[in-house]
Every structure is written in C-alpha cells, then in structure tokens.
C-alpha cells in the first residue's frame, strides 16, 4: 500500500473518534463529560466501566489493547482514549506495510 492510498483509505479523524467515544460514555453513564475530564476521579467511571471502555474501543476501532497499554491512565479521559486508538491504528497500519 502506498502512503497516498493509505491516507485516502483510512484518515484518522480524531474529532470523529472523540465524538463517538463521548457518545458512548454519555449513553452508558447518563452524563455529559468534557473531553479532558478525568472520568475516574470525577466518579463517572468505575472499575467495572473501565473494562467496558476497553472492549468498546477494541470492537469499534478493531484494535487490541494489550500489555503495557492495558492501564487506567490510557482511559482516564476521552482525549486519552482517542489518542490510544490513533496510536494503535497507526501501529497496526505500519505493521501491515512491512
């Protein structure tokens, strides 16, 4: 795959991902969190919901969260989750290029 094709096919749209994650968190918790808000210290998320977030991101964006990425700090805010998804997708795209 050439770089142009890749950009055409799957441009990573951070804003859209942020929106989608926000919608999921809002539906599941019946709150309207800010993208920078720490979901765990503000009592929106708990340890049970944390795993729902992992599984949601994995299914919605076809990524696998494993090893050192499997830590709460990656899931604290909507922005940090979107950043994790962006990085994991970039990594798997780079892998499939090799």
């Amino acid at each position: 795959m050439t770089p142009e094709q890749q950009t055409e096919k799957a441009p990573f749209d951070t804003d859209a991902v942020v929106d989608e994650i926000t919608r999921f968190v809002a539906e599941q918790t019946r709150t309207t969190p800010d993208v920078d808000q720490d979901l765990f210290t503000t009592g929106i998320a708990n340890s049970m919901f944390a795993m729902q977030l992992v599984v949601f991101l994995e299914q919605a964006y076809r990524v696998t969260v494993a090893g050192p990425d499997l830590q709460l700090s990656n899931f604290r805010t909507i922005k940090s989750m979107a950043a994790l998804v962006g990085r994991l997708q970039a990594e798997s795209a780079a892998d499939s290029d090799v």
Partner: protein, 284 residues
Amino acid sequence: MDEQLIAIVGAGVMGTGISTLVVGAGLPVVLVDVDQGVLERATTAIANGLRHAQLTGALPPGRTPGELRTTLSLSDVAAADVVIEAVTELPDQKAQVLSAVSALVRPATPLISNTSGIPIDEMAAWVKNPDDLIGTHFMNPAYLISMVEVIRGPQTADRTVESVLSLLTRIGRRAVVVHDAPGFVTSRLLHPMINDAAQVVRAGTATVEDVDTLMQGCLGHPTGPLRTADLIGIDNLVDALEALYARTGDERCRPSELLLEKVRRGELGRKSGRGFYNYSEAQS
C-alpha cells in the same frame, strides 16, 4: 505445596471470577460445570477478567497465570488440594454437588462453599467429613474485591480454617472469619437492603438511578444497591433471598415482586445485558 491445584465447581458468575483470581495469582485451576457452553463462555470471561484485573492494577503485571482446565466431569476434582463449590444457590443442587465432591477427594481436603447464605452446618449434613467444610464468601468480581468473609461452621476443624486462610493470603485476599448463621454477615445485611431498594422503586418513591445516586452520594455506597443487584445477577439474588427468608422468616428477605418480574423476563443484570440498567453488548 506451593503449587496447590484448586478445583472450582460451577462456572457461572462466581466460578468464573474466582477462577480468574486464582489463575491470576499463578495457581492452576480445574473448573467444572454441567454445561459445555457455560465452560466456553467462562474461558473467554476468565481471559477478559485477567485483562480487567491488569487494567485496574489488581494483578501485578508480568506474572504468568496458572493453567486453566475446564471439564464436564466432576471426578476431575479428585486430584485437587482444595475444592471451591460455586454452583447455583439452591440447597438441592448444593447437596448433590457437595456430597459427590466429598466422596471423591482425599480426606482433609478443604471443601469450601461460596454460598451466599445457606448455613455451613446445614451443608455439613451433606458431606462425608464435616470438619473439612468451610464457607468462603467471595464478592463479585472476586478478582477485584480483596476482602472475603470466611465462615467457620461449628464442626469446621482448625486445620481447615488455617489452610483456607493461608490459601487466601497466597491469592492476595484479606479475610474476616465469622460464625455460622443464615446469610452470615454480608448477605444478612446486603440482601434485604437491595430487596428494599427494589421495593422503593416499585412503590414509585424514586427511580432506579435516584435510589443508587442517593445511596452513593449520601451514604457512601460504592455502586448503589440496584447496580449491585445487576452485578450479582438478579436470579441469584432471588435464590439467595428465598434461602434467607426460609431460614430467618424475615419479611424483608421475601423477594420483591419487581425482582421476580425481572427474573421472569430474563433481565438478570450484567450477565444478560440488562437488569435495572442496560449494558452495552461490549460487556464481557
């Protein structure tokens, strides 16, 4: 000695969570159920549980999990050093499983029941060696909640208490040992409270969300009683309430019509995707 084999009978909500805890601590588990589909779902749930434990820091990173073997054959418990019974909270089913297990294991093998509230001494009548029998009340999810209630029956031997306490230490749990009674401490207090919460909703006093929010915000309850009902499994909650009601006569333990209705509709809580709340399909 340090690589004890733990047999767990019943691969539902609790059997799965306890298996996650034990293999996560590095010990091998043989997990028994009567339903192959249940065992397959349990295997997936245990893998997810291990990730969940790592995510929340409940499991130290880099430790190799113990081996998990699943089986439909109860006789595979014969080789175990400790057996944990976590089958449905129905006295007849527990009687059948406990008496079969006690005939299979070596003498002096601790036989642990994870019952929510059936007195240990009542179950003692079902086993070959009542001194080997003890209650250990893990909470759901067992791999996240570090405290367990240990119930010593009047016939439980000191050595049984000691070996169970040392196993619990080995798997990173803190224990409080209590005496035998219907519901022990935690179910005797929690179950009627959840039942009352359902009654409050049924009476129209407040919504499900408002009941939980008040219990969390005003009384420091970590999740709220109705979210806890969903976590427990409403079918199990009803069975446990019935068992308590039959043994205490306490009207607060008579299952609320709202709980019974949810069970009839298959709205069992997290395990079925819907209970007092809806859970995303992503829920493991």
